[in-house]
Symmetry: C2
Subunit: 393 residues, 2 copies
């Protein structure tokens, strides 16, 4: 096991009706003037924004608001948010939404405290040293951003998608009411479930030996998703299934399932270019990329894929032909994703094979390699995109 | 799933050689005058206390010290610690040791900030509202107190063992170096492993339905212990096995494996009277009590015990006779504990059957019942102690 630090100081406030406590928690964490940041109109129409405002009013906390966050949140709105926070004297950011809203909020929180262009953080020119405190009222189980240190923003000029991670960007408190996710369309729910599983797999495939506790915790989240995701697609109002998925989404990404070892994250890298270019949902892109990545890399450690196949997808180990078990596990994962309504190849996603050179180019690997479970050069990623283009059940 | 809050703000600093960073972390968390609190001479002899002092010196942090914490830490030393902190102007407690030292430190941290008798917290007369910040350098994987809100102290007058839990008692940072545990005697190592598994089982046996994620996380820790505990007994210098166990011990008790549902804790209650009366190791007491508790209560939910038997102990499910599977799982747990060198009945523990009425009396149930997975009255706990007195493989 490698040395590590683990720090997840967010207070999670989980369960039905908890959004009514927003005001008292903002007060507890010192906010006096809040920016309520959200996405489209659904949070307004559902009455959630109204409930949050009521709760802030009751706690005597002032606020302003900024809606309009899109999936794959844009730098353009982040600039607007930073300006608004400065002109209004905001000292606390409240993200009401999913991963995109939270990430936009994190970028605003960091940008307000920085004199230069906040995009500097994403190009590596500057580091995040200060940020306004932020908190979350979560409306979709997916990104895990409510408990994570990460933040992904898309630069509209060129649709360049880039991510950062800082402890200071962790949410002070995150209100997680599974009932708020019951009205989500099935497709979005399934995208979220895929993202959650992907966050675990990025940590599961490692070259570090002997980290049994982290392996088992990974498998715990994956087994939960294998049980609960199809159930919630079949029965969208199932509160318990929603609750298990929502909590699994946090556990999948606050890094408790990743400590003590090297991680991968190449599927996320390859997917970012897809959703950057076509503006498709991140989870849908992952459903196409991740099993294809697995198909390409499994020979790097066949028995590790057998572990996934047997422990997570219930395959019988073929001791005479371990490779068959590894492949069966990958195929079961793809079938599972297809079963909850996810695309499994470029055509179903709306991507085009002829764009592969452009996708590879945007990854910016040059003559180098992407690090991770298996190092990938330009030819490797081209081949993975090709597998993704043609994948079938 | 039930509503819950989850808050685990401790910064975990895990791995080889990390104790050298103690000083810089104390500084980060605002300590200027530290009480170094520890147990017997082993922490001094091993050079750990010296290394910690060196690290504090390098960070320019003043300190005083108080050793002598015993297993089942006593109120008498807590009073001494409180006096010392007040006279020396201590503003930060550093526990260098295991669960007993950490719990003694927590009691001191709370007691310093309270005008009355600190034992008031344990009798319910007063609540802990303030506490000095505290941190941990861990030397044994067992109690999980390095990441938990709980604190158990024994009143020497009458050997009365009582526990409390407050968020404010969580450690600011906990340095966890598995290498520090490599010199532990096998018996203490095994006691720690038993305690870790017991912390999970107390949360695993619940009447709340449909909390798959918490079930699976419980099983992740238990499966890790089933693999690693015998390995570390056979090969005490195995760093990776030590590391997995040490991290499992934290995960087992910061409550991530307990959220969203009712918990039990009756085995801990019954054990506290045993180790209070005979001053035996807490883990050894649990090894005797917990399988006996399981044997008495399993009919309350046979299939839940089948889940443990099949998922954790690898039993084949007997679909024609589920009770046989439940009983087999319990018996495998007992055999497992015996295999790592734990006592399984009163004789092996050094307890006496004729003391059962006294043990029951000290529990203070009166005509009431202990709540939990299955409610227990006086007759129930008498029967559990009797099973524990006579248990065999």
């Amino acid at each position: 096991m490698e040395n590590f630090n683990f720090y997840s100081p967010t207070e999670f406030v989980f369960g039905k009706g908890r959004a009514a406590e927003t005001g008292s928690f903002v007060k507890k964490y010192g906010g006096t003037k809040v920016l309520i940041h959200y996405g489209g109109g659904s949070a307004v129409k559902s009455g959630l924004i109204g409930a949050v405002k009521k709760s802030l009013d009751e706690a005597g906390i002032a606020y302003c608001e900024l809606g309009g966050v899109q999936p794959n949140p844009r730098d353009t709105l982040v600039y607007k948010g930073i300006d608004l926070c400065r002109s209004e004297g905001v000292d606390f950011i409240l993200a009401v939404g999913g991963g995109s809203v939270i990430d936009s909020s994190k970028a605003i929180a960091a940008g307000v405290c920085y004199d230069g262009d906040f995009w500097d953080f994403f190009t590596g020119i500057a580091e995040v040293k200060n940020a306004l405190p932020l908190a979350v009222v979560l409306t979709i189980a997916a990104a895990g951003s409510e408990g994570s240190r990460s933040c992904v923003i898309t630069k509209e000029d060129g649709m360049l998608k880039r991510g950062i991670g800082y402890e200071i960007l962790r949410s002070k408190f995150s209100i997680m009411d599974p009932a708020l996710t019951q009205t989500l369309p099935a497709y979005q729910t399934a995208c979220g479930c895929t993202d959650i599983m992907a966050h675990v797999f990025e940590r599961y495939f490692t070259n570090t030996k002997e980290v049994e506790i982290t392996d088992r915790l990974c498998e715990a989240v994956l087994l939960t998703m294998v049980k609960e995701a199809p159930r919630v697609i079949a029965d969208p109002d199932n509160y318990d299934a929603r609750a298990n998925i929502m909590w699994a989404g946090m556990v999948a990404h606050n890094n408790i399932v990743g400590v003590g070892r090297q991680q991968d994250w190449n599927s996320h890298g390859l997917e970012h270019e897809l959703s950057g270019l076509y503006d498709v949902a991140h989870g849908a892109g992952l459903a196409v990329i991740m099993p294809s990545w697995m198909q390409y890399v499994y020979k790097h450690n066949v028995l590790r894929f057998c572990q996934m196949a047997t422990r997570v997808f219930g395959c019988q180990m073929n001791f005479e032909n371990p490779e068959a078990t590894a492949v069966e596990g990958i195929q079961r994962f793809r079938s599972f994703l297809h079963g909850i309504g996810m695309p499994i190849n470029f055509a179903e996603l709306g991507a085009k094979e002829e764009d592969i050179p452009a996708l590879v180019e945007k990854l910016g690997i040059g003559d180098g390699k992407l690090g991770g479970f298996m190092e990938l050069d330009k030819n490797d990623v081209t081949e993975i995109y090709r597998i993704a283009a043609h994948a079938s059940l």
